[in-house]
Symmetry: C2
Subunit: 512 residues, 2 copies
């Protein structure tokens, strides 16, 4: 057994099943070890941000980390933005980075860089293997780190010569048991607020799981309080059986208008809400100090705290569901409303929705409240281009569920390479591109900043219309059967047809 095989064996024994990879020469022993040590499924990605974004989607749906195999510093650099998103989602991920041979590194070969420095930007745990005999322990340490604090990013740097070096078979490695806790005092304070004041529970993390939402819904029904979710959540179990939840709006004036309706806002499985950007004259926090009551952060035992809260309130097993039903059939042109409502109307039972539709997707959240039960994933860290990659990872985790990637064009253009991995692995992902030929959020921000008449350069920086991206061609070039539609009737037909099939498909929805 060599060092590379020792690492793969350790990964498998720690429960890692999937390796999302874009390897180079410094990772070849690890690639070969995946053949000689069984148990790890290697999946090739044509860009490292696809690998890390897929690992995020996988973690959200599988509830466990995948391994990313990346090529030295630049390979890690290319995957950083989806690690940033994963960090904000509390998704566990283990990165293994090949490094130059230890005896060669100090000569500063062209591909060399300070990998540990780079990894520190988006990793909670960074380690460099200094002995092949120790790599199994190093790998177990990285996997353990990924499991801590509700989900972390761990990065392990592994020099090429140590991968090739023979190792004695080491003692077996295993995960440490981890157990988060909650504060009974905070449960008591939350119960008091719920009984005494007009209150909302602001939910994130485990608070948006099926169990968490049921407990929060019982709490809300028993106390006549309301549920709000984070603007950008990692995963939320939604649909007809879930309680009614309002989403915290993106813009601070709208968010403050919502939170201002309550005397107390109880933070559950997340943190006190912060405006996505700072706007002149607006506060940073979307709740006041006096309003804010912390039940649990993302790194605490939110389900335990919610159960204790339900027990303390003696809340019946009843919730208030969303009202309004499935949206009516739409007609005519494609805009944010008709596109969002048509998807919400047609999505099948048990779907996974990877939602990076941004401005186009705003109507979708409310429209989908009474859809068949589904898992709703969102962009979490604001680093755009996550959708196609995380949809890929979600489909790897859940091969029996249909994944829909409702995707804005500007964001999708960052990570078209994910489509190729979907084709290669025949993943059951339907990508619906909302093609409005713009970074529309910039137009909205310009209007909000009072710029009714931006100059020609400013206008051009938000416009993707010259030339327009032809997504159906790009999809076909990446190996995904693709179709272009420009009205609701054709969109409906395309969705119905592709949902009846298995495997990756792309619908380019050209908006008016």
């Amino acid at each position: 057994m060599n060092g590379a095989e020792s690492l793969i064996a350790a990964a498998v024994s720690c429960g890692i099943e999937v390796c999302l990879a874009n390897p180079g020469t410094t990772e070849l022993p690890l690639v070969n070890a995946m053949d000689s040590v069984p148990g790890l499924r290697g999946i090739l990605c044509l860009h490292e941000n696809v690998a890390t974004g897929a690992a995020d989607g996988y973690a959200r749906m599988a509830g466990k980390p995948a391994m990313c195999l990346l090529h030295t510093g630049p390979g890690l650099a290319n995957g950083l933005t989806n690690l940033h998103n994963a960090r904000r989602a509390n998704s566990p991920i283990v990165n293994v980075i090949g490094e130059h041979a230890s005896w060669h590194r100090d000569t500063d070969p062209l591909l060399a860089s300070n990998i540990a420095h780079l990894a520190g930007w988006a990793s909670h745990h960074v380690a460099t293997c200094t002995s092949p005999e120790h790599i199994a322990i190093d790998m177990a340490g990285a996997v353990n780190a990924a499991w801590q604090s509700g989900g972390q990013i761990a990065t392990l740097i592994f020099p090429h010569d140590f991968q090739l070096a023979p190792v004695e078979t080491t003692s077996s490695v295993a995960l440490e048991a981890t157990k988060n806790t909650f504060s009974p005092e905070r449960v008591g304070a939350a119960a008091k607020a719920l009984k005494a004041s007009k209150t909302a529970l602001l939910l994130g993390g485990e608070g948006l799981s099926k169990t968490g939402l049921r407990l929060a819904g019982r709490t809300a029904a028993a106390t006549n309080s309301e549920l709000i979710c984070d603007t950008f959540f990692s995963r939320m179990e939604r649909g007809v059986d879930a309680p009614a939840v309002r989403k915290l709006p993106y813009f601070p004036d709208e968010a403050l208008a919502l939170t201002g309706q309550y005397e107390r806002v109880i933070i559950v499985g997340t943190r006190r809400p912060v405006a996505f950007f700072g706007y002149p004259g607006m506060p940073s926090f979307m709740t006041s100090d006096e309003q804010t009551v912390l039940l649990t952060g993302a790194d605490e035992d939110t389900l335990g705290a919610l159960q204790a809260l339900v027990d303390e309130l003696d809340a019946p097993d009843e919730i208030r569901s969303s009202s309004g039903g499935v949206p009516d059939r739409q007609t005519g042109k494609l805009d944010a409303t008709t596109l969002s409502l048509t998807i919400a109307r047609l999505q099948p039972d048990n779907a996974i929705m990877m939602d990076e539709a941004l401005t186009v997707g705003i109507p979708y959240f409310e429209a989908s409240g009474c859809a068949p039960n589904f898992s709703h994933l969102m962009l979490t860290g604001g680093a755009i281009g996550q959708g196609p990659s995380s949809a890929t990872g979600a489909a790897i985790a859940c091969p029996d569920r249909k994944v829909i990637n409702f995707q804005s064009d500007g964001c999708g253009a960052y990570s078209v390479q994910a489509l190729w991995t979907q084709a290669r692995e025949n993943l059951d992902v339907l990508t619906i591109i909302a093609n409005n030929q713009s970074y529309n959020i910039l137009n909205v921000e310009m209007q909000r900043a009072g710029l009714q008449e931006p100059g020609p350069i400013a206008r051009s920086m938000a416009g993707l219309d010259n030339p327009g991206l032809e997504w159906a061609k790009i999809g076909e070039g990446m190996g995904v059967p693709s179709v272009r539609v420009d009205n609701v009737a054709d969109l409906e037909k395309a969705i119905e047809r592709t949902l009846a099939e298995k495997g990756p498909r792309l619908i380019e929805a050209v908006m008016s």
Copy 2:
């Protein structure tokens, strides 16, 4: 005038003409300032690595820095790998990164990260604006830093509230004069080696400019020595009027076989050669301590040193040119040889060749020695995916020259978004994709490691054939007229037709 306008005015007064941008909300005041303060051409890129790679290609051809405008930490993260390549090319680049409003940053909004830490990975100079009144000085400092040491990466972080803040008109800013020097003692030592020993000059940086090559060629002809260039050079002036130069091979056994032919190797405008990767049993350096004679590094006055050397040797104004002539017409299937030789045979006078063809392009260097004069650019830092982006920047710098991007498929898949900017700006770039449906370098490395029979996972990690990328469709989807060919005759016709036209074109050359 606000802070953003003050920065743009400073950039223009320091000679910056081009801004490669992928802005977001935190950069909108700077975007608007490009309209209100004239002199900076804003060019939108759909991925930050296109912006930074284009800035590198621009710097190599324009001889001056462009500005990259990137969106907070994740925007910089996406552009890092081409900054790594630019660092290895000694290309001057000035990055301006928008940051959250200074009063908002400490609340850790979702998009927040440690930008200065991240920038340090690939920047020589990192500064954060702490006062809007000082931003013009900060910007001049960044531009000055970019000009130092033969070309550097400078990164300036600019909070959103300081962009919006009013500033008094500041005193004008200007560049400090910079002047590199050389060592007369080292010139004397080099002359002595040239007279006494069988010697080669290993050229990089300014040694590969038109002037540098002429002086080095005169030196070689006068002393019966030979010229070698770096394996991966930033820019080399080549073709029928240039002296004969051999390229240092990529693999260390082959590189050592070449350098072993000489008693002395004089390093000119570059550094002592280091193997790209460390291989067991091979040294890191490709010259021995005894062989190595340093004339100048990349941060010294190489042209001055070469002129002094020519003077000391009293070398006549004569050089030895490449022999062999333009390649013969090829026939049959497309392979590395027929593809490389056909491009070398047909390339027009005064072309710019951005060469990221890797294994497919190996025959190209020798084949193009007698081509019409051209500028040859290569991938410099090993972070693949530079070609389409740097070709874009070269075309921005030199609108009257034809740019050819000879591009491997595996590398090109990293940065397909560059094609869109070529279409949008109607840049005169002909992209020729060598489609061998593999990361072929990995196959070569596996064979060299003695793995004649890699396992199925290892084989799959080098194969891009399932599904094959259809580059002509991807090109069309990005707005570039594209054609697919699979034999030499059709390739010739396609090259001849596209060279006669202006504007971006793509030829997908499917190899057998």
